[in-house]
Symmetry: C2
Subunit: 168 residues, 2 copies
């Protein structure tokens, strides 16, 4: 049975993402090698992790519960010289359905805890789903950077990948 | 404001995915070059598409509303010699939160309609979000196939990428 009521869908948190990055932390550079990024899955789902550690990368799908939403369709990232960009052409957390997706490495899985590489999500973020990142389906060698200036933003994107807080 | 009530989150459909693949269609091979895959976004969100066509690939995030859910944590895909696999180590649509994610090419965008390459979603599937697929964030050249036998499944995965119905 689906949780469908008209056009509304109800989802449930199935776990919690833990990160060194607290909601109220000042935006500053951390040495995240000293921090720990992990997902604590609700124990009732633990069997669902069987063979997940065979994958180099996984998708982590989460609910962006810390975001103030104002439903702007055009945003202007300060790091992008305040260029006007549609919200769907951005990874801004301020979007109509506040779903976040990150590709992370699986380091190890112990019981219901998945130790992962850096993730750009605050500590305590509710988990919605985990999926394997499968080479042929998901790794596109002809992907590009769209409107993002590759040269200007390689370092900035690397901070997102590593889950390192930084000024925006 | 977030739509948070305890651990429940409410999301809204923001558009509809259209595909040649109807819910009740027999599983058979279609020539999808003759079919059309497109996303019709609710017109009130159309400004959010600004510059999206700069990207070669996008993520399409949708609600798997056609799936009968039985909350099994272990599944046995027939195409994988019925190997036991955890649901989070699979892309099965039958999962605790029925969110689907597909990486597709953007062909063209006209007003609120995004013409895309093949997507493995039934016609009429509710859209939850669109995000740009950004090379450095999302394209992992060292991704692997996990428990999936690459040689046996290249053709099978290609059918998923093209959105071609097939026996399972």
């Amino acid at each position: 049975m689906n949780d469908v009521s008209g056009n509304l869908f109800v989802l449930n948190s199935i776990g919690i993402i833990h990160s060194p990055n607290k909601n109220k932390a000042p935006h500053q550079t951390l040495d995240n090698d000293q921090g720990e990024f992990k997902i604590v899955l609700d124990k009732k789902f633990v069997k669902g992790l069987h063979l997940l550690d065979n994958f180099n990368y996984i998708y982590v799908i989460y609910y962006l519960d810390k975001v103030m939403r104002d439903n702007k369709m055009i945003i202007s990232p300060p790091w992008a010289n305040q260029q006007d960009v549609g919200v769907f052409a951005s990874r801004s957390p301020n979007r109509p359905n506040p779903i976040g997706i990150s590709v992370v490495k699986v380091k190890k899985i112990i019981d219901n805890i998945i130790y992962i590489s850096g993730i750009d999500a605050f500590d305590g973020t509710p988990l919605l789903d985990i999926k394997p990142y499968i080479d042929q389906l998901d790794a596109k060698s002809d992907a590009n950077y769209g409107w993002v200036n590759k040269e200007d933003n390689e370092n900035h994107l690397a901070l997102h990948i590593q889950g390192i807080p930084h000024k925006h």
